[in-house]
């Protein structure tokens, strides 16, 4: 039994190999895109809307609210990236219970790609907000001596992201496969259900961690700005003659 979707190759040409990971990823992309298009093509801003539109609005509103709470900032900047992370991972994990489907997130390549995207998104969002100097200067804080540790920390949390997601999803499929050979019907079904829960939770964890990493890259700058403002206001109060 093949547990790694990368090894299931449908088509290959030189270094280009269309494997199950890619195919099922395209399925997920198709489901998300076509589903969104089908609903939003008839979107209505009125107060009486369809159930599908209502569901989409509920999902988007929930993601926005989570982003707002976690980052303490306007969510629309991070919504496309973080929201897509969550939706892609959760749909990928959920289709794993469908017989014949394999979750793309069971492939380390997929989770590593997603983690790499998060790793790249942190400096991109940071530089967009603070500029090159402002963002890169964080790595020298509190002292330049901390630079290697900051870099190692960035890399390690990215690896942790990838491994965490991969391990949880892949292990769920592995346990089901093992149990099928030992005690069919009941335990595999229970584990599949458990796997669904784990899949949703892991999608949420991945998205929240990504958001936290992105927001933390900007929070230090915001904290510095707040400290400067509080220092200037206390200086004005102690010297009233300057008013």
């Amino acid at each position: 039994m093949e547990f790694n979707a990368d090894n299931i190759v449908y088509w290959e040409w030189e270094f280009i190999a269309i494997n199950a990971t890619l195919v099922y990823s395209w399925v997920v992309i198709g489901i998300l895109s076509v589903g969104a298009w089908a609903v939003t093509s008839r979107i209505d801003p009125a107060t009486s809307i369809s159930r599908w539109q209502h569901m989409l609005e509920a999902v988007v509103a929930l993601i926005r609210e989570q982003i707002r709470e976690a980052s303490r900032q306007e969510p629309d900047r991070y919504l496309p990236f973080v929201g897509t992370l969550f939706l892609f991972i959760v749909v990928s994990n959920v289709i794993d219970v469908i017989p014949g489907f394999m979750a793309p997130t069971t492939s380390l390549s997929t989770t590593a790609a997603l983690a790499t995207l998060v790793f790249c998104a942190v400096p991109v969002f940071g530089i967009m907000r603070q500029g090159w100097k402002g963002y890169l200067g964080q790595y020298l804080k509190p002292t330049p001596f901390m630079l290697p540790f900051n870099i190692i920390g960035e890399i390690s949390r990215t690896v942790a992201l990838a491994i965490r997601l991969f391990g949880n999803i892949m292990s769920g499929s592995l346990i089901v496969a093992i149990l099928l050979s030992l005690a069919p019907l009941f335990f595999p079904v229970a584990m599949q259900a458990f796997g669904l829960l784990i899949g949703v939770i892991q999608a949420y964890v991945f998205a929240i961690l990504a958001l936290v990493y992105i927001a933390s890259g900007q929070r230090s700058r915001d904290a510095e700005v707040q400290i400067e403002q509080s220092n200037s206001s206390s200086t004005n109060k102690s010297n009233p003659s300057e008013v």
């Binding site: 992309i29 998300l32 609005e57 590593a112 995207l117």
Partner: protein, 270 residues
């Protein structure tokens, strides 16, 4: 557990494509629709709030106006009530006066009619009494009674005083051409005639002439007339006096009667 690098990079590309697709087909339309709806609802809520404020202001204005109208209405009602009360009093007073006037006229008319009726009644009564008495006396009239009447007449003649005597003489000479007429309702006997003549001559003059006439209309009696002077006894005299006394009595009775209505009999209606 091995990373397929082609898959790795392909997944990166896939994810970026997915981000663009979802941004185009999911996030933007949905957030725009939600924002439009929120603005619309906010606008409607704000409009409703403004309308509520306006409605409250209008309500308070209307309440104030209604209160003013109510006060004015009460004031006008009070004025109207006072005017109506005044008018009612005036009308009642006028009606009372009219009624009193009418009552007075009725009283006067009634009094006049009563007076006329009583007058008629007394005249009729007097006439009837006289008629009855005449009839009685006529029925009772005998020789003895006639002689009694003549004797009474003669006694009356004896009672004529000097003053009356002179007047009799003057009248007889002025108007009667010296003749004195003795009238009676019955035929006086010769003896009575002589006695009458003797008395008269004694009283008036010895040479006065006398004549005797029978006048049934005298009403049982004897009298003597000389020009404007008269003396005698007759039933008509008594009846006349009776009539006078009856008239006097009726007049006193009518003056002493109370009026039929008083001014205070008409009461006010509330």
């Amino acid at each position: 557990m091995q990373i397929d690098w082609f898959t790795f990079f392909a997944q990166i590309v896939n994810f970026l494509i997915l981000v663009l697709l979802l941004r185009r087909f999911l996030y933007r339309p949905v957030t725009e629709a939600m924002d439009r709806r929120e603005k619309k609802i906010s606008g409607q809520l704000e409009e409703a709030r403004i309308k509520m404020v306006e409605a409250n202001e209008k309500e308070s204005q209307f309440e104030k106006r209604i209160k003013d109208f109510e006060e004015k209405k009460q004031e006008m009602l009070r004025q109207i009530e006072q005017e109506v009360e005044q008018k009612k009093r005036e009308l009642l007073q006028k009606v009372r006066q009219d009624v009193e006037e009418q009552q007075r006229r009725w009283s006067e008319s009634l009094s006049g009619e009563k007076t006329a009726f009583l007058r008629e009644l007394q005249i009729e009564t007097s006439n009837k009494i006289v008629e009855v008495v005449r009839q009685i006396l006529r029925d009772l009239s005998t020789r003895d009674l006639e002689e009694q009447v003549t004797e009474i007449f003669i006694q009356r003649l004896h009672e004529i005083d000097k003053k009356e005597n002179r007047r009799l003489v003057a009248s007889a000479l002025d108007y009667g051409e010296g003749v004195i007429v003795v009238k009676s309702s019955f035929e006086v006997g010769e003896i009575q005639k002589k006695r009458i003549i003797d008395v008269l001559r004694e009283k008036i003059a010895p040479n006065v002439e006398f004549s005797f006439e029978v006048v049934p209309a005298l009403g049982f009696g004897v009298e003597i007339r000389a020009g404007g002077w008269r003396a005698g006894w007759s039933l008509n005299g008594y009846i006349g006096r009776l009539r006078d006394e009856m008239e006097q009595a009726f007049a006193q009775n009518m003056n002493g009667n109370a009026v039929l209505t008083k001014p205070g009999d008409i009461k006010e209606q509330s």
